[in-house]
Symmetry: C2
Subunit: 338 residues, 2 copies
Amino acid sequence: MNDSPGDPSTTARPTLKTIAYMTGLGVTTVSRALSDAPDISQSTKERVRLVANQIGYRPNRAGVRLRTGKTNVISLILSIETEVLGLTSHLVYGLSERLRASPYHLIVTPYSVDDNSLDPVRYIVETGSADGVVFSRIEPRDARVQYLHERGFPFATHGRSTMGIDHAFFDYDNQAYGETAVRLLAERGRRRLALLPPPAHLTYATHMLVGFTSGLARHDLLEVPLHQVTSDSPHEKIMSVITEMMTSPNRPDGIVCASASSAIAVISAAEDAGLVIGRDFDVAVKDAFNMMRKFRREVIVLHEDFRAAGLGLADAVLRLIDGENATGQQIIQPPRPG
Amino acid sequence: MNDSPGDPSTTARPTLKTIAYMTGLGVTTVSRALSDAPDISQSTKERVRLVANQIGYRPNRAGVRLRTGKTNVISLILSIETEVLGLTSHLVYGLSERLRASPYHLIVTPYSVDDNSLDPVRYIVETGSADGVVFSRIEPRDARVQYLHERGFPFATHGRSTMGIDHAFFDYDNQAYGETAVRLLAERGRRRLALLPPPAHLTYATHMLVGFTSGLARHDLLEVPLHQVTSDSPHEKIMSVITEMMTSPNRPDGIVCASASSAIAVISAAEDAGLVIGRDFDVAVKDAFNMMRKFRREVIVLHEDFRAAGLGLADAVLRLIDGENATGQQIIQPPRPG
DNA sequence: GGACCGATCTGAAACGTTTTAGATTTGCCC
DNA sequence: GGGCAAATCTAAAACGTTTCAGATCGGTCC
């Protein structure tokens, strides 16, 4: 088949060998020239780079990976049921935007909330299928954070843990959100507020609750407790709970919602009960899509920027991979008026 | 370091060599045993499999990939500006759900609409960075479809081309959507309809237009033309065009929208103009999130199932990789009442 | 008893890369 | 002109896998 060894006339993908053949150098030299090693002469480097560009050489990822163990992959771990719905798409947007200029590829690793959330993380570490990992839905004593931290594996989380491990994260300031939302409701003259909280096991549930209650105290408002429902509950479940609450004698006149999708359920139920949003009842909500702001302008909207989160998380992971310390890789994003 | 060669006591990740050492077999035998080759005895196969399971052996992807060229990767190519917004998350959901049980990983390859859409496809083919590829925003004579088809590279598209290439696709029946939407509007007594169409260069724009106009003809309705705006136009742009249209003397009494996000702009503008949806004006829309149905029940909603699309596309690509023919890998999903 | 066969196993090579451990050349010093 | 250092290059090994081309061993056939 091959007339002369290393003959580059073939249509196959160029390798180091191809360049070596074309320049008359050894494969080692070519490799070192391309990686800008100190013991290669300037002229050789230039010649090699020229040829490499001409023939469109790109290092074979499998070769690099096999030899060095470096995968050039960042893995985004997603809970299929709760996360792939909407918000996350902006996160993917931000992540891939940042990764596009880098040699890294973004791979999406899904898991089901029925599974142990540690499984995908363990899989990635054990099989070495990524250089860094990003995930969310963080708990105060998150097993994944602990696992990765112990092993020194680069990771950044959307949300944070609170067990004293100094890890990279990007978090929305949910405490400030709670406070601000309450303040805005108070400014509209609302006196009796409910909170539709995130699932209690997630760290940011606590943050939001703290903000909410401190806001209540500051503005001297009353809390109307809301039980057995979170922003993750199914639409119908939220609606039925809100309906019940709205028809009770001491109904709230305002509510702080932890998510846009749950706010939709709240609004539907409230309107079904004959209330007019903005007149009888006010709703505050975090909105990533700007959909609320555009669609239901009577709703009180605070913006949460998931794209910025993606950018920040990608940045952090890349820096960790480059050997930087996790200290200083913590970003808390303040709520912005929608 | 290593006392005995191949000593498995080390904490390192097990390889074929580890199993070979433990069973006293050769590496070749172990490899062939695991791949169920015919010239390995049953007892050996069982013994090898047992040990492999015990020590949690997983083939090194880089090794396999380097040797065989198989990447075990499916690439989803996304236009960052228009696609990562919402709808696509369900597509990712479906894709990864189907791929989870397979050895394939899903990697997300973003591109900007400013770039040549062929670039990411070419990159993947040239660098061999995936075994199959999925993308959308298909044009009638799509360059990517042609490129991949010529090279026999496995791919499936969300939407279809119309140049006679028999490729795998999953498409929503946008013609039926157009017809049905018009029918539903007609049933509500609407007589003068507008269409907020998809960008004209995409295949499904034609389909939707055909359905729309045939629906108009069948129910003997009038078309109110809508110019210089598509469902991809910015929110503000759509609003201003709709506002202008709504204040004109021969305004439509109903509209068919190509996307949920554009419908939001339409509704906002209509309400700003003092119209009440469902009374003065009706809006028909495709909704993937079920958000419209839950939120604005006066809107006429037809459901588009992106998760099913993801499942179908993953299925198709896997089958193509397995050597099946593209014929028969075409699915057209009918619109479903929201 | 020699040839042959089937069943079962295996060494070596190869995929493309990086790194280790030199090899070669040149110039300089004494 | 021998020794030495600096500059520049390179062969070979290794990462883990699959595959090619046998090797080995009983047994069978004539």
